[in-house]
Each structure stands twice: as structure tokens, then as C-alpha cells.
């Protein structure tokens, strides 16, 4: 009966009901759709962060992260690599690298870069570089003087394929080591900063230049899913060959991103609350208007024997339908908006220069999290019912004689 009365009552004033429904729909849509865009942004930040040479887990010699110099390399990675083959889950990949800061120079320019020595095949399975070559070719195993650079760096240095690039850095004997490479490939990355920072050579070439016999700077591991990180981390930390190493997850390796994600989680709840508060004023106002228009009717309900609690239920039934309809349509519109942007995303190229600082991609694709959708719907539905209690209590408190005499 409450539901029947509630449903029919909300359509007594279709215009007013439509206005408040629009407010709820926009609120729910903005919560879910804009939330999905922001999640998409953070997901891509994580993906970019992981793909940009971080991986899910990294292994370093204990002092390397404080002082990423060549002398803090892992001298003999073989026992560690054997442990990885034994302990990593199926579908996981790893790549050993040498990573040192260096100076790149050609006839026109000189600038700081990060020299990354990689096993071309293994690295291609772990980081972005395998699929990022846009001009020329990727590194080969027998490429002692080949180098792959980013497009932004090539443009900055006014260089290109087949041109020479000299790298200088400090070797293990603390002498200046330099080697001339020839650009064999130019890559594109999600972020221009990545293109300017990283240059790739083969692992043997880097070892030769740095006078490292078997040493490496780090091992990066890519797992089939984020959810495997904790268990794999624990398993690797228990492995005896890794006892002298730092084994860290991407969350610790990318502290800025971790902080951003934590802030985002708090922010999204606050944002939901702010949107809801704006919506709540509409709900309370509409329900109050509907109640004050029907004071006589509530007097009648009371004279017929409705108890205050039953009147509260009747008013709440009206809010229930308003909220349910608003949430339903809001969800449909949100998912429709997400669906429309799923393939092409939102192109932020114009703003990419500013957004890159935070590791945000050029194109944002929405990412829907069930948890966020549930939270948005629950916030609107439960708090919507809670704020409707105020007008419902007002209706329940009308004195029957005064209400019946109301004109």
C-alpha cells in the first residue's frame, strides 16, 4: 500500500518530480561517469608507471636505491635469476637491466639521459619498449653499437636514424667511459618525458662500456595481474639468493603515484558527499513542498488511524521511488557514456604537457570499478532516504485537527 501510494503521489506533480529526478540523475551520472574517468586516469597512470621500466616488482642490490651508481650493481645475478625461474607464477616475465645516468651528446647538443642496457627479447615482454618503436627497428642481441632513443630526444638533439650519439658515464673503476652508438630505432612513449629520458642499448654493450663483467643494476618483474604482487613479493623475499637484495613492489618504487592513489580514494568519497549534499537539498525541498501541499491529506491519514510511523513509511516510499528512478536512469546514462568513450577515450593531447607531470596519459579511457559504482549508488540511496526522514517526520508530527483544517 505504501508503495502504491508513494508511486502515485510522486506523479501528482509530474513537473516537480521530473526536476528532482533530473537533479538525482545528473548527480548519479557525474558520480559514476566522472568517477570512471578519474579511475581510468589513475589506472593508466599505474599502467604507464609499471610499463615505464618499473614492472610490478623490482630487485636491486641493497644500496642501489639510495645511490643508483654502477658500483651498487648486483654483481652476479645468476642465482637470483634461478630463484626467479623457480618462484615466479606462470605468465610472469622478468628482465635484467643495467641502468645508469649518462650524458648523451652529438655535434649539436648534450644532455642528461638514463642509459638502459637490456636483453632485447626479455625486456620486450616486461616494459613498453618492445612495442614502442615507431621508426627504424628494435635492438638485436648482436647490436654492440645500436641505440634506441625516444622521438622527443631525437627532435631535441635534431638527430635521426643512422646518426651517431655518444654516451658518457662513469664506469666501475670510476673513470669516464664513453661509447659512440648509432641510432637504430626511435620509440614513442605515453609521455614525452619518458622519450627524453631513456635510451636503450644491449646489455653486453652496456657491460662493456661500464666494465661490468656479469653485473646488472636491477631486475624488473611483470606479473599477469596486480593481485599477485603481495604473494610474489613475499615468496621472493624468502628466497635465499635474494637475502642481500631490496625486493620492492611498484607501490614503493613509485611513491608519488601511491600518494596520489591514496589521496584519490579519499577524494572520491568526499566528492560523492559534496555532489550528494547538493542533491540532498533538492530532495528535501521537493519532499517538503509535496508534504506542505498535502497537509490535509496527512490529517486525514491520521484521522483514519494511521500511526506516525506509518506516515513516515508513506513519505519514505515517495523518496524511495524518486531515488530508485534517479539512480536507475543515472546508471544507464553513466554506462552509456562509458560505452561511448570506451574505444576512443578523451584526447588530452592539448593539455598533455601539464598532465605529464603526474604521469597522466594523452588519451583517457574510462574505467568502471564495481566498488565505485556501488559506493555512488549507496551514497545516493541510503543518504537520500536519511535526508527524506526530515520531511517524513514533519508529516508524521502534524496534529490531525490542525491538518484537517488547513486551507
Amino acid at each position: 500500500m505504501y508503495l502504491r501510494l508513494g508511486w502515485r503521489n510522486i506523479w501528482r506533480n509530474p513537473r516537480r518530480t521530473t526536476v528532482i529526478l533530473i537533479a538525482i540523475i545528473i548527480g548519479v551520472w557525474s558520480m559514476i561517469f566522472l568517477g570512471a574517468l578519474m579511475r581510468g586516469m589513475t589506472d593508466q597512470m599505474i599502467r604507464n608507471g609499471i610499463a615505464t621500466l618499473t614492472g610490478h616488482i623490482q630487485i636491486h642490490q641493497r644500496d642501489y636505491r639510495n645511490d643508483p651508481a654502477v658500483e651498487n650493481s648486483i654483481e652476479d645475478p645468476a642465482p637470483i635469476e634461478a630463484a626467479l625461474d623457480e618462484r615466479l607464477p606462470t605468465g610472469a616475465h622478468w628482465s635484467a637491466r643495467i641502468r645508469v645516468t649518462a650524458t648523451a651528446a652529438n655535434a649539436r647538443y648534450a644532455g642528461g639521459v638514463t642509459l638502459v642496457g637490456v636483453d632485447p627479447q626479455m625486456e620486450a615482454r616486461v616494459s613498453f619498449i618492445g612495442k614502442a618503436i615507431k621508426e627504424g627497428r628494435y635492438l638485436r642481441e648482436d647490436d654492440p653499437f645500436g641505440i634506441v632513443v625516444g622521438r622527443a630526444l631525437a627532435e631535441k638533439f635534431e638527430t635521426g636514424l643512422g646518426k651517431k650519439l655518444v654516451l658518457m658515464t662513469q664506469d666501475t673503476e670510476k673513470n669516464i667511459a664513453s661509447r659512440a652508438f648509432r641510432i637504430v630505432g626511435i620509440y614513442r612513449a605515453e609521455m614525452e618525458a619518458t622519450e627524453k629520458q631513456f635510451v636503450f642499448v644491449t646489455l653486453p654493450a652496456a657491460r662493456e662500456m661500464l666494465k661490468l663483467e656479469k653485473g646488472i643494476s636491477e631486475i624488473s618483474i611483470l606479473l599477469p595481474g596486480h593481485e599477485m604482487v603481495a604473494a610474489t613479493l613475499a615468496s621472493l623475499r624468502d628466497a635465499p639468493p635474494l637475502s642481500g637484495c631490496d625486493v620492492e613492489s611498484w607501490r614503493n618504487l613509485l611513491p608519488l603515484m601511491r600518494a596520489y592513489l591514496e589521496i584519490y580514494d579519499s577524494f572520491i568519497f568526499l566528492w560523492y558527499l559534496v555532489v550528494f549534499i547538493a542533491m540532498a537539498f533538492g530532495i528535501v525541498n521537493t519532499t517538503l513542498m509535496a508534504i506542505f501541499e498535502r497537509i490535509r491529506e496527512f490529517g486525514l491519514f491520521k484521522s483514519l488511524g494511521m500511526k506516525p510511523w506509518w506516515i513516515i513509511k508513506e513519505v519514505m516510499a515517495e523518496s524511495f521511488f524518486l531515488l530508485l528512478l534517479g539512480i536507475l536512469i543515472g546508471n544507464i546514462l553513466s554506462f552509456l557514456s562509458v560505452f561511448l568513450l570506451m574505444n576512443h577515450g578523451i584526447d588530452l593531447t592539448r593539455f598533455a604537457a601539464g598532465s605529464e607531470f603526474f604521469g597522466i596519459s594523452r588519451v583517457i579511457y574510462p574505467s568502471v570499478y564495481g566498488r565505485d559504482v556501488l559506493l555512488a549508488n549507496l551514497v545516493v540511496f541510503i543518504l537520500g532516504l536519511v535526508v527524506s526522514l526530515y520531511p517524513a517526520l514533519k508529516a508524521a508530527r502534524f496534529k490531525p485537527v490542525e491538518a484537517l483544517a488547513h486551507v
Partner: protein
């Protein structure tokens, strides 16, 4: 057996600094099965007395007993329960629920009472047939004439077999023919179902139909006559 007993009931309304005495100490006993009119000019206190008997308003002093229930110290919830089970109301302006059909309006009180669906529907249809509204079950109040609306209101008031029906100026908004028909219908209900009817009115036709006429003037009982209509 007295179904209503009022003992020295007083009621004063306050509007700002102004006080208006509505009832100045009314004592009244009404027997079960009565067909009683509380008559008097506007502002005499008849509606106030009706509201107090119905538990819609509280007396300032004195005592009101309805079918053995002392209303004086009852909570709002207890009064609501009493109204739901024992009292039916008919109002001057019909006061039907506009979003419900005639049948649903009559069902409404039985719904609150928790009467099972089939019984509820059967009783609602029967009573609507009894008040001459056969075939108009699905009409909303706005689709019914004033007389038809008041018939629905009467059907709603008596469908759950209350001990008393309180009717506040039930014919005031009706033409004389419709008013007479309504009164005759309520008279039949009174005789057939032994439901006690108490009217507040200043309509001569209602007074003529009443078997007992209680005159109220300036908040006091001025006259009390048992009579044949």
C-alpha cells in the same frame, strides 16, 4: 449501554494573546446504536466536541470515554489505534485520497487493519454496492460527483464495522436531494448494522433525520431531545 461518555469537557483555543472558549464543560452520554445530531450555530463548539470524541483533539479538562476506552491520557499512537479500530469519520469536504480509486479508498482502512486481500476486496465491493456505487469502483475521486464522493466516504467510514461514525457537517457541500439520499442511506446503515452515528450539523434536514438532537450553544449544552425523525 453508553458508547460515548463525556464528563465536564472543556476546551479553549489560544491564538496569540486571545483565548476562545470552544467548550465550557460539556457532559454527554450517547447510547450504542444512536443516530445523534450535535446542532448549533457556527462556532458553538459542536465540531470541537466531535473532534474530542474522535480523539483528533484533546480536551483541556474533563473526561472522554469511547466504548470503554478513556481517551484522556492516551498517546498519539494509542489514539490512532482507537480511531483505526473503533471510529469512522465522514467529513464535510469528503476527504478522499485523490490518488486512490473509490474501491481503494474504501479498502484503505482495512489495509491498515491488516484484513486479508480477498476479504478486503469483497467487503469493499459489497459496501460500495450498498451505497449505490456499483460499477464505479475504479473511478478516482476527481471523476465522481460530490454526492458520490460522500458516499465513498461513508462506505469507507463503515466498512470496517466501527463502533461509531463521526460525521462533521456531512451534507454541507451537497444539494438537498443528494443530502437527503445520503442521510437515508446512513439511517439504513444505522438500523441494519447498529452503527452509532454522531453528526455535527446546522442543517435542518440532518436535525430532522436524527433520533436525538443535542443543541450546543457557546460551548455549552443548551438542549437535548430524544425524538422520532
Amino acid at each position: 449501554m453508553n458508547i460515548v461518555e463525556c464528563v465536564n469537557v472543556t476546551k479553549t483555543y489560544r491564538q496569540g494573546k486571545m483565548e476562545v472558549r470552544a467548550l465550557g464543560g460539556v457532559s454527554l452520554r450517547i447510547k450504542k446504536g444512536g443516530f445523534v445530531a450535535l446542532a448549533g450555530p457556527s462556532g458553538s463548539g459542536k465540531t470541537t466536541l466531535l473532534n474530542i470524541i474522535g480523539g483528533l483533539d484533546a480536551a483541556d479538562s474533563g473526561s472522554v470515554i469511547v466504548e470503554g476506552n478513556v481517551l484522556d491520557n492516551m498517546s498519539q499512537t494509542e489514539l490512532a489505534q482507537l480511531r483505526l479500530r473503533k471510529i469512522g469519520f465522514v467529513f464535510q469536504s469528503y476527504n478522499l485520497i485523490p490518488v486512490l480509486s473509490a474501491l481503494e479508498n474504501v479498502e484503505f482502512v482495512m489495509l491498515l487493519q491488516g484484513v486479508p486481500t480477498k476479504e478486503r476486496l469483497d467487503r469493499a465491493r459489497t459496501i460500495l454496492d450498498d451505497v449505490g456505487l456499483e460499477g464505479l469502483y475504479d473511478r478516482r475521486p476527481a471523476e465522481l460527483s460530490g454526492g458520490q464522493q460522500q458516499r465513498v466516504a461513508v462506505a469507507r467510514a463503515i466498512v470496517s464495522d466501527p463502533a461509531i461514525v463521526l460525521a462533521d457537517e456531512p451534507t454541507a457541500n451537497l444539494d438537498s436531494k443528494t443530502g437527503r439520499e445520503l442521510l437515508e442511506m446512513m439511517g439504513e446503515m444505522n438500523e441494519q448494522k447498529s452503527v452509532t452515528f454522531i453528526f455535527s450539523t446546522h442543517d435542518k434536514m440532518v436535525m430532522d433525520h436524527a433520533r436525538r438532537l443535542v443543541l450546543i450553544r457557546d460551548g455549552l449544552l443548551a438542549d437535548d431531545q430524544d425524538r422520532d425523525p
